[in-house]
C-alpha cells in the first residue's frame, strides 16, 4: 500500500519535470543567498572579535556557508536531472543515480534544518563570549601603550558611541576597574595617593566614566566625573537622572544587534528548508512515476507516483531486514555454503524425517 499515491498522465509528468527544473534553478539562487548570508554573518562576527572571548561561535556562519555551497551543487544536479526527465529515454541515464540522489538530498535538508536551529541556539554562547570579552576589553582600556592592546580604547569608545551603550551590564562597571592609566596620574598629589591607598589592590578607582558613555540627547552638558555625588553638580540627582549617560549595557546592545541578524537569517534558512523539501517531494514523485512508466513499457501511458512504495512500517521493516541480511552474511564469513551445526539446546527431532501422513477419517 503506497504512501500518498498520485496518478500522472504524460502531460502531467512533463509539466512536473519542467516546473521542477525551474524550481531547482530557484533553489540554486537560494543556495547562493544562504552562502552570502553566512559570509555576512562571518564578517560581522569578525569585525568585533576583539570584544568576544575565545569561544567557538564561528561554526554557525561556517555551517551556513557550507550548506549554501552544497545546496547550489545539489540543486544544479537536480535541475539537470529534471531537464532530462521530460524525455523518457534520457531518464534511463539518470535512473540508477536518482534514488541515491533523493536520499542524499533528504539528509541534506535535515542539515539545512539543523543550520536554521543553530542560528537560534547561538544566542547563549554569544552572550557568554560577549560578557567575558567586554570585561577584558574594559580592563585593558587604559593599556594604550601595550602592543596588542593599544587599540582597545579606540574600539571600546567607538563601540559605546555607535551602539549607544556604556559598560558591560551598565555604567557602574566602569567604577570597578581602573580605566585611567598610571602614566596620567600625578603621584605627587595627596588626593591621588589617598585614593590608591584606600583600594585593596592599589587601583585608582573613581565614580567616573569615559566620554564615550555620554548621551547625545541629554539637555545638559555631560557629567562624567563624580557621578554618584549629587552635591558635586548643581540641580543633579543621579538616581533619577537617566539622560546624562547611556543607560544600556554594551553586552545587551551587541546581543540585541546580533540576535536580530540571526533571527532574520534563521527565518530565511527555514523558508529555504521548506522550499527544498517541496522540491525534493516533487523529484521523488517524478522518479517513481517515470520508473513505473518504464515498468509498464508504454512511455505515453498513465502511471502512479508515490512517496514510499510500501507503508511506513513496511519500509522500516525492509530497511531493518537489509541491515539484518548484512549481519547474517558476516556470521558465516559471507559464505552461505558452510553447514553450521545447530547449537541450540532445543530438540526438534531428527532431520529428514518425512512428514507423517495423516488421514482424516470422517
Amino acid at each position: 500500500m503506497a504512501v500518498l499515491k498520485v496518478k500522472f498522465t504524460k502531460t502531467r509528468r512533463d509539466k512536473l519535470a519542467q516546473i521542477l527544473w525551474i524550481l531547482n534553478w530557484i533553489s540554486v539562487v537560494t543556495g547562493v543567498i544562504l552562502f552570502s548570508l553566512g559570509l555576512f554573518l562571518k564578517v560581522e562576527l569578525k569585525k568585533r572579535e576583539e570584544l568576544m572571548a575565545e569561544k567557538d561561535i564561528q561554526y554557525v556562519p561556517n555551517m551556513l556557508i557550507a550548506v549554501g555551497l552544497i545546496a547550489c551543487a545539489i540543486n544544479f544536479l537536480g535541475g539537470k536531472i529534471c531537464y532530462d526527465c521530460v524525455d523518457s529515454t534520457k531518464f534511463l541515464r539518470w535512473k540508477l543515480i536518482m534514488l541515491p540522489y533523493i536520499v542524499c538530498t533528504f539528509f541534506f535538508t535535515l542539515c539545512v534544518l539543523v543550520g536554521a536551529l543553530m542560528c537560534y541556539s547561538m544566542h547563549w554562547e554569544l552572550e557568554e563570549a560577549l560578557d567575558l570579552g567586554l570585561m577584558q576589553a574594559m580592563r585593558f582600556y587604559k593599556d594604550t601603550d601595550m602592543p596588542g592592546r593599544c587599540f582597545l580604547k579606540h574600539t571600546v569608545d567607538t563601540l559605546q558611541i555607535q551602539f549607544q551603550c556604556c559598560g558591560n551590564s551598565g555604567y557602574k562597571d566602569w567604577f570597578q576597574i581602573q580605566w585611567i592609566s598610571n602614566r596620567y596620574l600625578d603621584m605627587s598629589k595627596k588626593e591621588v595617593v589617598d585614593r590608591l591607598r584606600s583600594n585593596v589592590e592599589g587601583k585608582y578607582l573613581m565614580d567616573g566614566v569615559p566620554f564615550s558613555c555620554c548621551n547625545i540627547n541629554s539637555p545638559r552638558p555631560c557629567i562624567q566625573q563624580q557621578i554618584t555625588n549629587n552635591s558635586a553638580h548643581f540641580n543633579y540627582e543621579h538616581q533619577t537622572e537617566d539622560q546624562n549617560l547611556w543607560m544600556k549595557g554594551c553586552r545587551q546592545a551587541l546581543l540585541e544587534y546580533y540576535t536580530h541578524i540571526m533571527q532574520s537569517i534563521g527565518l530565511t534558512v527555514l523558508i529555504t528548508w521548506l522550499f527544498e523539501l517541496s522540491v525534493l517531494t516533487g523529484v521523488r514523485y517524478l522518479q517513481t512515476s517515470l520508473e513505473n512508466v518504464l515498468r509498464q513499457g508504454d512511455p505515453d501511458s498513465e502511471s502512479d507516483g508515490w512517496l514510499l512504495e510500501n507503508s511506513l512500517m513496511e519500509t522500516a521493516r525492509i530497511i531493518k531486514s537489509l541491515g539484518k541480511s548484512n549481519q547474517i552474511n558476516t556470521a558465516n564469513n559471507g559464505d552461505p555454503n558452510i553447514d553450521v551445526p545447530s547449537t541450540s539446546k532445543a530438540h526438534y527431532g531428527p532431520d529428514n524425517v518425512p512428514p507423517k501422513e495423516k488421514m482424516e477419517t470422517s
Binding site: I161, F211, R220, F234
Partner: protein
C-alpha cells in the same frame, strides 16, 4: 558659410542611424543617472540643513534634476527620430518639430555644463552659509529648553562626532560662547559668580569644550575642561597635544566633504554632458543628410550633412530674433500704453 560639412554615402547614413539609436538609449540611462545624482546631492545637503544659513547651494542639485528629466525626454525623441530617419515616408513629419527641438536640447545641454561650473563656483557661498549656520548652532547649543532650538545641541554633538571636528574654525570657538546653560550653574558658588562678573556681557565662559569634541583615538582619557591650563592636568602640554580633541574645524570638514561629493558628481555629469552632446551632433548630421534625400527618387544617393547652415553668429541671431521680437514687442506695447496714458490728461 556652412559649418562642418561631411559627405554621407548611404551605408554611412544607415550606420549613423543605428549607432545613434544605441547612443540615445545610453544617453537616456545617463539622463536618469543625472537625475539620481541630483537627488543624492540634495538629500545630503538637506541632512545638514540645520547648520546651513541659506539654501543657495541647492541650485546645483535642482539644476541637475531638471536637466536629468529633460534629457530623458530629449533622448526619447532622438531615438524616435533616428528610427524614422531612414524611412523616407515617415521622416517628413518631424520637419517642423526639429528646429525648436534642437533649440531646447542645446539649452538643456548647456545647462548641464553650467551646473558643473556652478558646483565649483559656489564653494564660497557654501562656506559662508556654513560659517553663519555653525556660528548660530554653537551659540544656541545651550538652549535645549527653547522651542525651535532644542535640538541644536544634539545636532552639533552628532555633527562633531561624525565629521571628527570641533567648533566652527577650530575648538577655540567654544571658549568664546557660553555653552553651559544658566539652568545648570550654581549661582551661590563664588567661582561661578566671579567668572560671570569678570565677563563684560555677564556670560559664563570656560576654556572647555563639549564631550563630542573628544577624539577616541587619544591614548589618554579625554581632557575637556581647563584645556589651556597645563598645570591642571598631569603630563599635559596643550600647545603640543594633538590627539586629545579634534583639531579640525567643522566648517572645513563639511566644505571638504561637500566639495568632494560635488567633484565626483561633476566628473560623472561631465561625461554625461559629452555623451549628450555627441547624440545631438549625430542627430543634426543625420537630419541634414536625410533632408537632402527628401523628394529624390533614389534614396541611396550620397548626400552632404552639416552642423549649421549659416555661420555660428547668424544661427544664434536667427534663434534669438523671435525671442527678442517677442520681448521687444511686449515692451513696445507697454511703452505705447504708457504714452497714451500720459498724453490723455494733457
Amino acid at each position: 558659410m556652412v559649418v562642418m560639412k561631411m559627405k554621407f554615402p548611404f551605408q554611412k547614413r544607415v550606420k549613423l542611424a543605428q549607432g545613434l539609436w544605441l547612443l540615445s538609449w545610453c544617453a537616456t540611462v545617463a539622463g536618469a543617472t543625472t537625475f539620481t545624482l541630483g537627488c543624492l546631492l540634495k538629500t545630503e545637503l538637506r541632512r545638514r540643513a540645520e547648520v546651513m544659513a541659506n539654501t543657495d547651494i541647492h541650485i546645483v542639485p535642482n539644476t541637475l534634476m531638471i536637466v536629468g528629466l529633460a534629457s530623458l525626454g530629449i533622448n526619447y525623441f532622438a531615438s524616435k527620430i533616428c528610427q524614422d530617419a531612414l524611412d523616407a515616408g515617415r521622416f517628413p513629419r518631424w520637419k517642423n518639430f526639429l528646429k525648436p527641438y534642437f533649440a531646447v536640447s542645446c539649452f538643456f545641454t548647456v545647462l548641464m555644463l553650467l551646473a558643473i561650473i556652478m558646483s565649483y563656483a559656489m564653494k564660497g557661498s557654501l562656506e559662508s552659509s556654513l560659517k553663519a549656520g555653525l556660528r548660530n548652532g554653537i551659540r544656541f547649543y545651550k538652549d535645549t529648553d527653547t522651542p525651535g532650538r532644542c535640538f541644536q545641541k544634539q545636532n552639533i554633538d552628532r555633527l562633531q562626532m561624525e565629521f571628527q571636528c570641533c567648533g566652527n574654525n577650530d575648538f577655540r570657538d567654544w571658549f568664546e560662547i557660553q555653552w553651559i546653560s544658566n539652568r545648570y550653574l550654581d549661582f551661590s558658588s563664588t567661582e561661578v559668580k566671579n567668572r560671570i562678573k569678570s565677563n563684560v556681557d555677564g556670560r559664563y565662559l570656560v576654556d572647555g569644550v563639549p564631550f563630542s569634541c573628544c577624539n577616541p583615538s587619544s591614548p589618554r582619557p579625554c581632557i575637556q575642561y581647563r584645556l589651556t591650563n597645563n598645570s591642571a592636568h598631569y603630563n599635559y602640554d596643550y600647545q603640543t597635544e594633538e590627539l586629545n580633541i579634534y583639531l579640525r574645524g567643522c566648517r572645513e570638514a563639511l566644505v571638504n566633504y561637500y566639495m568632494g561629493l560635488m567633484n565626483t558628481i561633476g566628473a560623472g555629469v561631465l561625461s554625461i554632458f559629452l555623451l549628450q552632446g555627441s547624440v545631438l551632433v549625430s542627430l543634426r548630421f543625420l537630419q541634414t543628410a536625410m533632408e537632402a534625400v527628401a523628394g529624390k527618387e533614389n534614396t541611396e544617393i550620397e548626400t552632404e550633412g552639416y552642423l549649421l547652415e549659416k555661420g555660428v553668429k547668424e544661427t544664434v541671431m536667427e534663434y534669438l530674433d523671435p525671442v527678442l521680437t517677442f520681448l521687444l514687442l511686449k515692451n513696445k506695447v507697454e511703452e505705447g500704453t504708457a504714452g497714451e496714458t500720459t498724453t490723455a490728461p494733457a
